[in-house]
Symmetry: C2
Subunit: 215 residues, 2 copies
């Protein structure tokens, strides 16, 4: 527990690197005093996060009626195996954002946000797809969450056992890192045969440059 303060980071670079590597967030809202958590995709554009859903989505409606929402993004990097049960841990990088949420009404911003969702998850993809039409834009609710406050937490490295536990015999301790690895692309059944997988899919890495998750 004494290590927790060391894990916190507040600089924009650390926070945005985590937001840019992830693409699924958990949106927290309060409705009638009861909490609600919605897993959903997001995109960061400047100092805001865009989230979207169907026009009837209850959690998004609650978000725009709230003064503040909370958005968390968590990347799990591995397991920390200590000699004591107590010092077992998880290596992770997470960001928690607090900010006001507003529905995006303007067609231009809404259209840009819809393309940003695709581009955030798969860089290079929007140039290779049919853009949203007017009825698709109407059918989607987009909300913008200002990144008013944000903090990152990062835990990395091996276990921090108590000194006396280092003498325990026969207990393996260390770290089990994870990688999140794209498998072989599965072509849609209706595709013409022999169509090449485009580079933005065949070479998909997270983050885009391929650093960090490649242990």
């Amino acid at each position: 527990m004494r290590r927790l303060p060391e894990r916190a980071r507040y600089d924009r670079e650390s926070v945005y690197a985590i937001l840019d590597e992830g693409f699924v967030c958990h949106l927290g809202t309060c409705a009638g005093g009861e909490p609600r958590v919605l897993p959903t995709a997001y995109a960061r554009v400047g100092d805001a996060l865009y989230l979207h859903g169907a026009v009837g989505n209850v959690a998004l409606a609650a978000a725009v009626q709230s003064e503040m929402v909370c958005v968390a993004v968590t990347l799990v990097d591995g397991l920390v195996l200590a000699r004591s049960a107590f010092h077992h841990s998880i290596n992770y990088r997470s960001v928690v954002v607090f900010g006001p949420a507003a529905e995006v009404i303007g067609q231009d911003e809404k259209n840009r946000a819809l393309l940003a969702f695709v581009e955030h998850v798969v860089p290079g993809r929007t140039a290779a797809t049919r853009p949203p039409n007017a009825s698709e834009i109407r059918a989607t609710r987009v909300i913008r969450v200002e990144i008013a406050e944000a903090s990152a937490k990062v835990r990395a490295g091996g276990p921090k056992d108590d000194p006396e536990d280092l003498e325990l015999d026969g207990i393996w301790a260390g770290e089990l890192p994870f990688s999140w690895v794209p498998g072989a692309p599965v072509p849609d059944a209706a595709l013409p045969g022999g169509m090449a997988v485009p580079g933005h899919i065949a070479g998909y890495r997270r983050p885009a440059g391929g650093r960090g998750r490649d242990n």
Copy 2:
């Protein structure tokens, strides 16, 4: 959007399979009307989830003061690449739990919960570690969230493009599955040389049987 209802599942088996495969949840609480989302580890035992943190943890304190909390667990399985930007999606399995939260006070239940956290993440691990001592148990706050209401959502498979988009030429469409793959275990620097990596680490798979995430 018309597909969303098909994604929902409410049977216990579907819900618990997802809860048992994941080990990081997002806890939603309301404090003074403002939402808070905390990423944290959990374990399922029967019809309850256990969460824990330092005694000073603000979100856990808010949870036990709330009538209801919300806990979400999300597993990301892949990307869905459609011909239209609109029909891009993410394959995922998620569970949202609502229930009352209470602090676990009894030493026996607390101790069992602390071991359950380790065992939930790494089956077989508790037998190979030093169990919690009295001061470690005191230093930890454990809360139990009853799984009073729960629903699962699952999206799987390829894109569902509009029929007229199937004729668009030159747009690759399909699915990019992900696997979450353990890397090589990294032994702690203080371990005696030549110590074998135990089977519960060397053979680590999620879920334990290795089904489902192994695409």
